[in-house]
Amino acid sequence: MSAFFDAGHYDGKSAVRRKVEVQIIGRQFFLLETERRHGPFAFSDIEYVTHKDDADVYGLKEADGWRLMLSGPVPSDLSAMLPARRNYGGWVDRLGFGKAAVAFTLASAAAVAVVLLSPQWLAPLIPSSVDEKLGDALVGDFGGRFCSTPAGDAALKKLVASLDANPSDLQVEVAKIDMVNAVALPGGKVILFDGLVKQARSPDEVAGVLAHEIGHVREKHVMQALLRQMGLAVVLGGIDGNSGALVNNLLSMSYSRESEAEADAHSMKALGGANISPIGTASFFDRLSKMDGSASSSTSENGIAGYMSSHPLSRSRKDAFEKSIVKGKNYKPALTPAEWTELKTMCTQDRNAKSGFGFDFN
């Protein structure tokens, strides 16, 4: 049993400050005033609150506003019973600042790595029904912008069938939008924009781009990119707490360089299998890379910038397609001249298809 002088106390019921002595009895203590005794209180209920002025402030569990303020040298038998000071917060105090900083750095790096890598493992686990529903929800009938004529559809169907072994679970459409672009979306949906088809000089060019987008579908890149973008948004969302940035991240979904390379490889293989010359695709890339970046961005509506922004271009991609040419191989054109004309003029012929976006997309 010992007494401790010079302690301040608030009982949490009124704002009156009391001068008390701490009387320790085993694992409990009393607070002694001149004519009153408060307690007993259990040391196990004591919590560290804060440090103020020159005093350490302790609270009592379940007693709102109860305070014990100890200043000056605290006798060792009392300090041994009290909870440790809190500085940074639980984990950091337990580990120490340096160790905690290193541990957090490692954990953060691991979290980012998991987010970047796990989509490759998770994407195949997403059932195709979910994939399809997501695709339907996103695209639907594209606001009636898909073009369709009997001969054009037949030409497109032939093109797809020559490039893919299972064309039935793909949905390839030409949309009446005057942009040089093509996209792969969830649910095996591939959309070629009419602008791309129109500016192509041969059906082989369209075949190369189409095979590239089919590559994204077959390699499950679409779901991977979605998952990666969402994961990053969640992990990095902690930094600024800005939910708007989160949404933006999601919408600016793009593929990694590895995915692009894989899709290119898929495209070259498909072209080879279909006996279509990759030279068309190479010259398409060549034309794109020769375009001046600033000039194309100013004409983004009709120009090439759309494709450029979602498909990073480099000479190496063009070279890769050129290298995949097998000398002496007897390549056939992807479509007959009549079929090519039908595909190219499909959107002009189909008067029912709505054109453009109908609003400013940017």
């Binding site: 608030y10 009982d11 949490g12 019921k13 009124s14 704002a15 009156v16 400050r17 609150v49 804060t50 440090h51 103020k52 002025d53 402030v57 609270g59 709102d64 506003g65 109860w66 305070r67 500085n87 940074y88 917060g89 950091v92 600042f97 905690a100 900083a101 957090f104 750095t105 954990a107 953060s108 979290a111 980012v112 929800a137 996103l138 695209v139 639907g140 009938d141 594209f142 606001g143 009636g144 912008r145 992990v235 990095l236 969302g237 902690g238 930094i239 600024d240 707490g241 800005n242 939910s243 989160l246 949404v247 999601l250 919408l251 709505k354 109908g358 609003f359």
Partner: protein, 362 residues
Amino acid sequence: MNDDLSHRHSAFRFHGSWLEFARIAFPNLLLTIVTLGIYRFWATTREREYLWSKTEFIDERLEWTGKGIELFVGFVMAFLLIGLPLIVIQLISQGLIFRGESILAVVMTLMMFLLLFYLTGVAYFRALRYRLSRTYWRGIRGGSDDPGFQYGLAYMWKSVVGWLPIFLGVPWSMISLWNDRWNAMSFGPHRFSATAEWKPLMKRYLLFYLVPFLLFIGAVVFGISMAASGGTPGTLGSTGIAIGAIFAIVGVLSFYLFLPLAALAYYSKYFRLAVGGLRLHNLEFDFRARAPDWILFFLSNMAIVICTLGIGYIFMPYRNWKFFIDHMEAYGEINIDDLTQSETVVAKHGEGLLDAFDVGAI
């Protein structure tokens, strides 16, 4: 035990030093970076613990008893309740636009904005409530039993009514909402009463409101007088052009200079009136900073941030709090025996919504 405050130094005194604060702010910055931002909730808590403990009201320091985990849980809740639905709605409306259902998409987006607008109001209210409920003085805390849902509605309609008459109602809505907020708050057994008036604020607001017009008129008058004096800058030769250019630069600069200054002058008056209308039982409050103080404060904050290449930003919580406490004043008396514990509920989570929307203090 009565404290007569009228013959003493300010009832509020700040004892902090920026060197001490630096020892909290720099480790905080490091830990925040290595945890990808997650530590910032604990960082905020540590900073508040320090600032509160260095703030003396009459004869006792304040205590901040909020926990990092409360802010973190609040953030997670805001993310789940608002962030995720926002992303989903964004995706759905994107899909609707693709499908051509633009009107439905617009309606959904509008609903989303209305909901966010409402929640912003609720967030302002709950942040104040949270801060009061975690602030202890002599073992007594503040709070409110009002969850703030009504306030969210008031926030919506009063803001809109303030904007409708070409934004001339803004002073009314700001003061009225301040009063609504504080009238719902209490400290100990006493309810705050907020009776600030908006009419005295109108002159300052009109000053701010008319700055662009006055500058424009000034420029026109200057141009006419130049013409009347018989020479356009061109006929005066190169010196004339130089003078004209200097005036043009001064004109643009003064626009960017005068508008923030006028805004600060307005805000200074607003805050003085708002705090001046506040009462707690027999206590009256006053905020003594006038427009020049605010302008000096604002400019030195900018200078600190710029001269330290941005690092000085971590001292802004310190500077804001010091500025606030240094200019706070209270008059009247407190009966310590009457100041009993608050009966208000204690919310388990922190300023999640406010944090998610990134809106500032007080």
